[in-house]
Subunit: 347 residues, 2 copies
């Protein structure tokens, strides 16, 4: 009997499969395992070390899967490679500190490109107080960039995916769908006015990780958050899965950016399922959300609530009348993208 | 004027280039930079954190560059991906603790292969007291594996490349050239007896990182070490460069394994330039080396000494009569392998 293929179980199935294997070899008697607070299944790993909580995360960008060199500049790529990792630390409410960068690249690449890449990455690192302390260089037929970031929590608390409770509000920072709209512009060569083009392109290629916002969430007592990388609904689904709760999103409450409404007939789909927004999605009681709202510089919008209702889907999207809106499978999942109804990223 | 290509400056030139850019953006006023003890230019990065020294390193294996799936099993690949990183922590004399693993793989891959990969990696992790706490999965046209390991020093001291002094002995653990010989067997399908084949294949694909040995070096007061990944001469050259010294190796002192002498006419070249041995190369005064020798289970051999002589090359290899032996450029360097005289790795 031929073995099953990775594409048949998809990214999340594969992650579960790998977690099961790793768990089987876990030796809870060993010191490192005793200190682990969060291993796989959250935005970053976390463990205790000398009275603080250490955080670590890694993310990879693959040429032809995550980016297309014909439409992306090396400067943007350098920024984004680090930003997606910083966002994972932000989603834990942590302080990013040290980065390692592994670059697999073809030898025929122009050195100027690597310079632009590094300059941009170093600039973002400096802006976020991160020291790039090492990495690796390897020859490869395609460009594959893996960064790892290590950091710490500010206090005792870290934001998790597994701590949402029924009755809590669901809120997001900023707007979703802008990154996916930026990708549509890049791949379909859609023509918009200069201002919208620049803003959407930047949303896709130079996202600003919500580091300070994540820390403010912790300061105000928020316990549950995730960064929106797979898509608003998909990431809310991750929270629901880990917290064993359900969620109801009211579509009319989801903030829609003017540039999205004006230029994209599918703006609702983009906002719900777009992915790569690197905004924070969090849950908390109404008072806490209100306090957060007053403390951060970016918009914070309540879009729904966590429930313990017995609904067919973990995440239900409703219109203002309370009717259920089908939103498709949506979201980004590696290997399974061919069956996704709304496939928004480039091939 | 067209920009220079990466292949024109080679791996080490590129690393220098990147280091210069990163350094320009370094803000020594920022907390993480203030705590950094070692950034790029050693086996692992190191920084102070709450009275301990933290270590972090990353390494990438690329299909078709570092391994060929037609001759390597997934089990061996899982082992090696982690082992090469563990070896970097060993070369700092540290204790590896936590690992992140980033897997970029084609969707058509069989799940059984991933299982074998993870089982083997998890087994090595357990053996070395390491907790695999996270990672990343991405779709990619080829297999690219990046692991990152975080650890700590046992005491205050870490082993560095930059601390060698004239007059010190140069010593290595175990044997070099076995991994390169294993690769020759795999790629040229050389037929040897079963025992030698198994041993050499294992040396190439399942190296055992010298973690305990690295710690023993520190305990006995050794300050300078590197793990042999590029090749004995090439890695000794790294020490000389960072320490601003020269080195003299006596070829007859370099330990040659029986299996190498019996089966490989080029055994001297393999031992000097082979690479991927993951043995430790260290320098210390004669008394210290003698104490280390009595404390470790593996062979420790003095192969030469650190000098401040004004020699044409940083590393000079001599025969027993004191005549200089040309050893070729040797060693492994990404992008520049086409100009290497002794190219030992698979394409």
């Amino acid at each position: 009997m031929p073995s099953m293929r990775v594409s048949e179980i998809g990214e999340f199935g594969l992650i579960d499969h790998i977690r099961t294997i790793i768990a089987r070899y876990r030796d809870v008697g060993q010191t490192p395992w005793q200190e682990v607070l969060v291993d796989t299944g959250d935005d970053a790993a976390a463990w205790r070390s000398n009275g603080t909580v250490q955080l670590a995360t890694t993310d990879t960008l693959v040429q032809g899967v995550h980016f297309n060199l014909s439409v992306v500049s090396w400067e943007e790529l350098g920024w984004k490679s680090l930003a997606v990792n910083l966002s994972d630390i932000a989603a834990m409410g942590g302080v990013p500190e040290y980065a390692l960068v592994s670059l697999a690249i073809p030898g025929e690449l122009e050195l100027d490109n690597i310079s632009a890449f590094c300059e941009s990455m170093a600039q973002l690192a400096r802006q976020c107080g991160v020291a790039i302390v090492g990495g690796n260089i390897a020859a490869a037929p395609i460009v594959v960039i893996t960064a790892a970031i290590m950091g710490r929590s500010k206090g005792e608390t870290i934001l998790r995916r597994s701590t949402a409770n029924p009755g809590e509000q669901i809120a997001i920072t900023g707007y979703t769908g802008l990154s996916a709209a930026g990708l549509e512009i890049l791949t379909r060569k859609t023509k918009l006015d200069q201002e919208a083009t620049t803003m959407l392109r930047r949303a896709h290629l130079q996202p600003v990780p919500r580091i300070r916002e994540g820390q403010i969430l912790v300061e105000h007592g928020v316990k549950t958050a995730i960064d929106i990388s797979d898509g608003l609904v998909a990431d809310l689904d991750h929270i629901c899965e880990m917290s064993r709760v359900n969620a109801r999103v009211t579509l009319d409450l989801v903030p829609m950016h003017d540039a999205l409404i004006a230029n994209f007939p599918n703006h609702r789909e983009l906002a719900l399922c777009g992915g790569e927004d690197y905004e924070l999605l969090f849950t908390a009681d109404a008072d806490t959300v209100a306090r957060v709202k007053r403390s951060v510089d970016c918009p914070v919008t309540v879009i729904g609530e966590i429930t313990d209702e017995d609904t067919p889907a973990r995440v239900t999207v409703m219109d203002s009348k309370g009717d259920v809106i089908p939103y498709g499978k949506g979201g980004w999942q590696h290997f399974k993208d061919e069956i996704s109804e709304s496939r928004l990223r480039q091939p």
